[in-house]
Symmetry: C2
Subunit: 234 residues, 2 copies
C-alpha cells in the first residue's frame, strides 16, 4: 500500500510521514498554503519530504483566503494564548479546513495510483476542531467511496486518531524524527512563541511523554506557569 500523507510541517504530520516511511508506505507528501500566518511550517514539510526521499506537492489555496473570514490563523485577529481546551481557541478554527485538504488529496491520489490518504489528527484536536473527530473521518471516507465509485478506491488512514499528542511525541522519538525541524507555532515568528494553543500543547506533549523537547520557545515558562495556576502537580 502506498499513501499520500497530508503534512503541514508540524510535529504530528511529520511523525505521520516518518511512520509511513518506516513501513515503506510513503507514496508522497502534500501540503497546503491557505494563507495561514504560520506558513513557514511548509518549509519543514519540504525538508521532511527531502529527507524521506519522496515527492512534495504544495497546493496553493490562497485564492480562498479572502473568503475565509473569522479565523485567527488567516485573519488579522490575534492568535489567542492558552491551552487548546479553552473556548478562546475556537478562534483558530478554519471552517472545513480538513475536508478541503482531504478532498484535494483524494483528487490527487488516484492520478498517482496511490491507495490511501493519511492525516495526523489525534484526540487533543477533538475538543476544538470538529473536522478532527473520528465520526468526521469515517463519514469522509464513506463520502469518498461514493465520489470515486468506479474510478478508484482510496482508504483514509488516521493512525493517531485515538491517541494523544503525548503518544505522538513518544513515537516521534522512537522513529528518530528530527523534532527541532518540525513547526507548530500558530504565530509563525522566528522561534516558537510558547504561548499559543499549539505551542502549549506541544510543550505539554513532551512533558507528559517524559521525552526531551528540543524546541526553543520564546516564552519557555508560560506552560509551566499555566499549570501551576491550575494547581497541577508536575
Amino acid at each position: 500500500m502506498k499513501v499520500l500523507a497530508i503534512v503541514s510541517g508540524g510535529l504530528d504530520s511529520i511523525t505521520l510521514a516518518y511512520l509511513l516511511a518506516r513501513d515503506n508506505q510513503l507514496g508522497g507528501i502534500i501540503s497546503f498554503d491557505y494563507g495561514q500566518r504560520h506558513k513557514k511550517e511548509i518549509a519543514f514539510a519540504a525538508l521532511a519530504a527531502q529527507r524521506l526521499g519522496t515527492s512534495h506537492a504544495i497546493i496553493d489555496l490562497t485564492s480562498i483566503t479572502a473568503h475565509l473570514k473569522g479565523s485567527a490563523l488567516t485573519d488579522s485577529i490575534a492568535v489567542p494564548d492558552g491551552h487548546y481546551a479553552e473556548e478562546s481557541m475556537k478562534q483558530t478554527i478554519v471552517p472545513n479546513r480538513n475536508a478541503m485538504m482531504l478532498a484535494i488529496a483524494y483528487g490527487i491520489a488516484p492520478a498517482q495510483n496511490l491507495d490511501a490518504v493519511a492525516i495526523g489528527i489525534h484526540t487533543g484536536d477533538h475538543f476544538i476542531y470538529p473536522d478532527c473527530r473520528p465520526d468526521f473521518a469515517a463519514s469522509f471516507e464513506a463520502m469518498e467511496q461514493k465520489a470515486l465509485e468506479g474510478v478508484a478506491s482510496i482508504k483514509l488512514l488516521t493512525p493517531f486518531i485515538t491517541g494523544t499528542k503525548a503518544d505522538i511525541a513518544r513515537q516521534a522519538h522512537t522513529l528518530n524524527v528530527p523534532i527541532a525541524d518540525t513547526w507548530s507555532c500558530y504565530k509563525g515568528g522566528a522561534v516558537h512563541c510558547g504561548r499559543c494553543g499549539t505551542c502549549v500543547e506541544r510543550r505539554e506533549a513532551f512533558a507528559l511523554s517524559h521525552t526531551q523537547d528540543p524546541t526553543l520557545y520564546e516564552d519557555q515558562n508560560f506552560w509551566l506557569e499555566e499549570c501551576r495556576k491550575k494547581g497541577a502537580t508536575l
Copy 2:
C-alpha cells in the same frame, strides 16, 4: 435562506443561479479554475453574477492541475466526440472534482453567513460521473454535518438531481436565462464544437424539450447524424 451557488458557466449551473435568484435565495456565486481547457466558461459565470447582482468568487485551483493527470479536460488527451452515455466519455472524468469544489464552497459559506450550497447536477451526469449521483450528494451533506459540527449548519441543494438536462433547458427558457451566454463545450474554442459529449448533450436537451437553442455549433449536424445512425426518430 441564502445560498452559495457553484456555477461553472454552463447551462445547468447558470439556470441554477437564475432559479435561486427568482426565489430571492441567491447569496453568491463561486467558480473554479482547475486548469480546464474550457476555462472561458468562467467568463459566462462572471456575466451571470453581474446580471443577477451578486458576488462572484473565482477560486484558483491551478496548482493542483499538474497532479491531476488523466482527464481530457485538463490534459493533452483529446476531448472525445460522441454521446455522454458512451464509455469513451470516462476520459472526461476529473476524479473527485465535485467533492473538491463542494468542500471549498462549504469552507466559504460559513464565513459569509450563508445557509446552503447549491450545485446543478442532474440525471444525465449520473452514468459517467459518480460525484454527480444522489447517493454522493447525500453522503457529502452528511459528512459536512460532522465537519462543521458546532460551527455552522449548511444544506446541500441539488434541485436538478432527479431531472434531465431537457428539464433544465425547459426551465432555462421559463426563467429567461440568456442561453447564448452560457458555455458548455469542453474544447473551449471560439464557438461550441457540436461534437464533444457536453455539446451533444446540450443540443439534445433543447431538442428533447422542444425549445429553441440559440447556440452556434461549429458542427451543427453531428448530433443529428449520430441520432440517425442509431435509428432514432426525431
